[in-house]
Symmetry: D2
Subunit: 401 residues, 4 copies
């Protein structure tokens, strides 16, 4: 691919947004390696993804902390960013700060924060979002812009009938009916309506409603999501097929997650927690089918862990002649360091698909998500095969071209 | 499939052999369910496997313990077989005892045990083995006989040049050169030469040499193996692709296995242990490829565990920006209860393939083995897809017939 | 000690009550060993505890299941009791059944179940309980009777001012004020008032109020409790001093308990759960003092585990120069098999103390409880030293006598 | 205590030695807190330990790396020392470097490394060691010097008859019999003979022979050791009493240690490994006594872990009625960060005892060691009570003085 690709991060100064930018710039300047990037796997790297040094970053942010401050705090508390890397990138992070606009929380739900007067109602908000992104595109002469939602999970809203068709949704927008639009949907609308790509890395609603699927197809935009599969669920969806394929009955699969970052704090709100644990549990039930028994997912806020997540899963299963057996695992990972490379991957993959004139849900990206758009496949290996098939086809098309 | 199928177990009164028979008979008589049987998965069960009540058991055994005694000991020490199931099957196990002949340890290595005069040299041994199996076939009017090696792992012999071609191996057999033939190979030879199917559930040599592959193809026999994938390695080969496909670098994968059955005791002999840990480690390295770091597999004998195996694996890996993370799992399973249903599956699958006039290595059975014959695929999900493809094809062939 | 000792179990046909009786009788008849009994430790066994064959069992029960049925169900689902032990004890369990009376749930809270007309109000209930126990004492010519509460945990009631003094409590009893008396307190009152010993193995209120302490001292009765320390808390109180004594700061101690028995089901009621998790957490905070950080205790009902409990604890701590480290443990135990021998121990220990004319709280029994009566010591080793000191003194007194 | 106290580290630039110095200086300058220091516990801190700012560091070192280089490498690979702390201490570490002399490996075993001509034979070596320490004492006007062995574990030598009495050992020294003196003993001899205190933090021989105990008593010197109890064994000796005191039979206690520092590398030598695993296993057997079953300790070198140690222990035990249960724990700690504060504690404690005119083995320091000198107590809580009793007595003596 020729030209620069814009990556517009909704929640740019959160841990995931910040680490995406820090990581991409560190790689671009030769200060870090490419471990963790799926698009850099030997079998994939030949395809013409946008170069990491060709990614241009911008975004929206509702918090008061700057990109550099976020990086400094992360470095002190969670590690991963060394003090010298922080020094090396300081100036650059301060420059990128200029590309970050005050973001929009959902008008009817929260009082608006931000550094300037906020638009009132969803119609004006969508227009304002679109304007910010458009100026970014123009400023940098970007061929493709990928909008990625990496903001804190929003409270799970009750579904609206207006979500079911584009006509109804457009009418609600024209009528400025605020309660129809969770914040994440406003960004998705703005992006897809402008022909940009949209990736939802969170469990928020985003583009996951029929009306936005229609919009994407109508505008020739692509979207992917939702809820990045970074840790415990990744392991679950790699392991669960083992039980299903050996015809072992899973009596119980209990998952306990401890995390200490703002996401963990947000999950103390039961409405938010529900959104998260639902999509974690759904994957499991989808894979185990008839073998599934009791299962539950718990998330606890343990402040001292900062950005590190510890997940403990206990699996109680039955084998031949009723023999009861057990497996347990503990996963200890830095949540943002697992997420950030996937955000880069998704930006490259979405930009590629967009450049190929695809539109609608990018179902071949299922392996990146807990709740994949466009396809109901949850087993990690099956999802990965879908990505593999896509890349192989693209490569053979590219070679024959 | 019509008619009865013979299952000839080499090591019939060992824990796996005994539990295979106990389990099959319990299912046939409605005393136990089919959990743990892969051939009973919804997507597979329509294919015409031999009915479990149509399996006829016999075998060789070198130990002094009868089938019933083995079942009683197992029931007391490891559980799984309830006292009432034991009572219900007692008479039947004593009847099956009559189908179990004194087995043959490798003549040049050990002093022969057994209840009758032993043949001297490999030539006579192969002939004696074949005679025992042939009488079993005739006695029960069997269409198919599947010989399954479930004996204790033999010491790993140095490879012989005679193993490389059927001509050379036959000459060695004619010359009665004992040191060319590990015991497991004598059984494999006898089975394949008679057109029977051969399955090697152990890490012993069995049919895993070019000469025996030639023999199988020449005689129209099928074989599968080796080393049943029941616990830790099963988990490893389900999990390792996760790291490979996320481009995470595995710095260390340390596996610690504790087990208390005779297999564990045999593994105190370094030569035997080497055979086992090699095939466990090979799977991992094959999957991780460029991402593999330090890895090792330890096996310890912990008598109090009896037939239960506890495996603890620690995986130290590196993600984005060099962040070091860790995962650990503990697997607690009853080894024989994990193995026995797979033996039944393999007998059914091999008998089916044989009835379809296939010959040589059954590579679609890779998902059952640590060191699969005929194919170098180790990732569990990829192996399972091979079995799925085989069954789908067979089903569509069956429907169109 | 001479003569027989009565053990009156409140909740006699629950898992703990049943297993106490099964175990004691199995030991008495030479069918089982003495593993798990603290009173059989080499350093303690010389003291003249009541012989296990001298224990006579009776009790109250509100459920419909007989003692034998409880044993049979336990044997099938949780193991531990072998089928042959069950057969050997069948007749005896049916005989002991005659010593088990219909129990009394708290009159104002539940509709009374049971096999006969229930007394109305606390006054009549206490009298009825006392009568049942008294007839048991007379029937068997018992020197000592120890009443042990092993019933399901009751909902945590709000504290009453009447609990603060014996005078006030007696007045409430005379006035028949039902809401002052949780069921567990009625049993404690009846026992202590009659000069019997009372042990509370549950987190219910029982004798843990000043009024009943007064009663015990006035009547020369002894009591001990509450909430048997059998698994996770036992480990916690053995481990936590390590962190305290090394001056390591515990940032977080998260405990997750999974269990599948009726106790687990009862804990789905938040009021009951609160009683349990409180006493679990209190121990930890008491030991860690200034080093304690975030801590929480979770209990989940996982039906397939039956009587087995799996506890997973994650401890996040900080050492020298702020280095963050972690420890985790998993405990897999049969809850009732951990509790039952302690019930036998407590019956012997309480009977001994009673025979020595002690009265009030038996603080030297702290090592048996999560929330020890009469003393605020939680570290397991300190508690054990208290028992050791008591026994040593008793032994030297016995020798010099 | 008045005046400065010398801390002479044998192996000053190893991880433990370096981190001891870095930590002490960071605390002295207010750059770090006192977490991890036992002498700073509330109940101990009133006693007049030497102030941390009053500790003067020097030592011997055989490696080529300077103190600062060791700190820088540690900071990069294992963390714990932040980049800014490293910068803040750089000058100071370079000054302390001048107090570090070339060390002495055992003359008859290894070719001598070092920056100057080495003495030949044990007699000259002891004299040279003593001279280095003496000059250090004079240079800084030190009241007390504590020599602490934190060097890499030496290969386990066969015991010599000369170790049994001071007379025999002195004769061997006069005769310059090299093979009688492992290196660690030369340092211990030099220290104790000069009236200095000696602490052996390693499993090497050091002062743990009757002859050196005699020497200490004759010279009025004190010593403590051996083998610092920092991680897995610490947990073991806190947990094992739980099983012993509940009369639970431990069938198996399997310990697996993974570590990546030079100690781990040294342990690939079976002779060294034996020394280490022996003292780890001894503690367990001492506590469990009649309840001990199969137990073993494994140590593996896993380079990617650097200075972090992961220990996994599996405990298989039997309770009431033969119920088999299990516990497992995983310990993830920074080995040197666990050791360094204890080295500071031991220096303060030994200096205090020396100032009180004690002599011989400091048995009240047992809680710091896997293999305590002067006492055969291994349970951590009992050891800690010994320290508590010592401090209480000292405090009451101090108050009445």
């Amino acid at each position: 691919m020729r030209g620069k690709t814009g990556v517009w991060l909704v929640g740019a100064c959160g841990n995931v947004g910040m680490l995406t930018i820090v990581g991409a710039r560190a790689i671009a300047r030769g200060l870090a390696g490419r471990t963790g990037l799926v698009t850099e796997l030997r079998e994939f790297r030949e395809l013409g993804w946008p170069g990491i040094d060709q990614l241009v970053f911008g975004g929206h942010e509702t918090g008061a902390r700057t990109l550099y401050e976020a990086a400094r705090d992360f470095s002190r508390r969670a590690g991963v960013i060394s003090e010298s890397l922080l020094r090396d990138l300081k100036d650059e992070l301060e420059t990128i700060q200029d590309e970050i606009c005050a973001g929009y929380p959902a008008p009817p739900v929260h009082t608006l924060k931000g550094r300037r007067a906020d638009p009132v109602g969803p119609r004006a908000t969508v227009r304002a979002i679109a304007k910010d992104i458009d100026e970014f595109r123009t400023r940098h002469g970007l061929q493709e812009v990928v909008v990625v939602n990496v903001a804190t999970t929003e409270a799970h809203p009750a579904p609206c009938p207006e979500w079911e068709s584009l006509t109804a949704l457009r009418r609600a927008l024209d009528d400025d009916r605020g309660n129809v639009f969770p914040t994440s949907m406003l960004y998705a609308y703005a992006a897809l309506d402008a022909g940009d790509s949209y990736v939802n890395f969170t469990p928020s609603v985003g583009a996951s409603v029929p009306a936005l699927d229609e919009l994407a197809r109508a505008r020739g935009s692509v979207y992917a999501g939702r809820d990045g599969k970074t840790g415990e669920t990744l392991v679950k969806t790699a392991l669960a097929p083992l039980f299903a394929h050996r015809n072992l009955r899973v009596h119980a699969w209990e998952g306990y997650n401890m995390l200490g970052n703002p996401d963990g704090a947000a999950l103390r709100d039961p409405a938010t927690k529900g959104a998260k644990t639902d999509s974690k549990d759904r994957s499991l039930r989808s894979i185990l089918g008839e073998q599934a028994g009791h299962s539950s997912v718990h998330i606890d806020f343990v402040p001292s862990l900062d950005d590190w997540k510890v997940a403990f899963d206990y699996i109680h299963f039955e084998g031949f002649l009723g023999a009861k057996m057990a497996m347990q695992f503990t996963w200890q990972g830095c949540d943002s360091a697992l997420a950030a490379p996937l955000v880069i991957d998704l930006a490259r993959l979405a930009a590629y698909s967009s450049s190929q004139n695809e539109s609608g849900a990018l179902s071949h990206l299922a392996c990146f998500f807990k709740d994949p758009a466009g396809v109901d496949v949850h087993a990690f290996s099956e999802q990965f095969e879908m990505l593999r098939a896509y890349v192989r086809q693209a490569l053979s098309r590219a070679r024959s071209a």
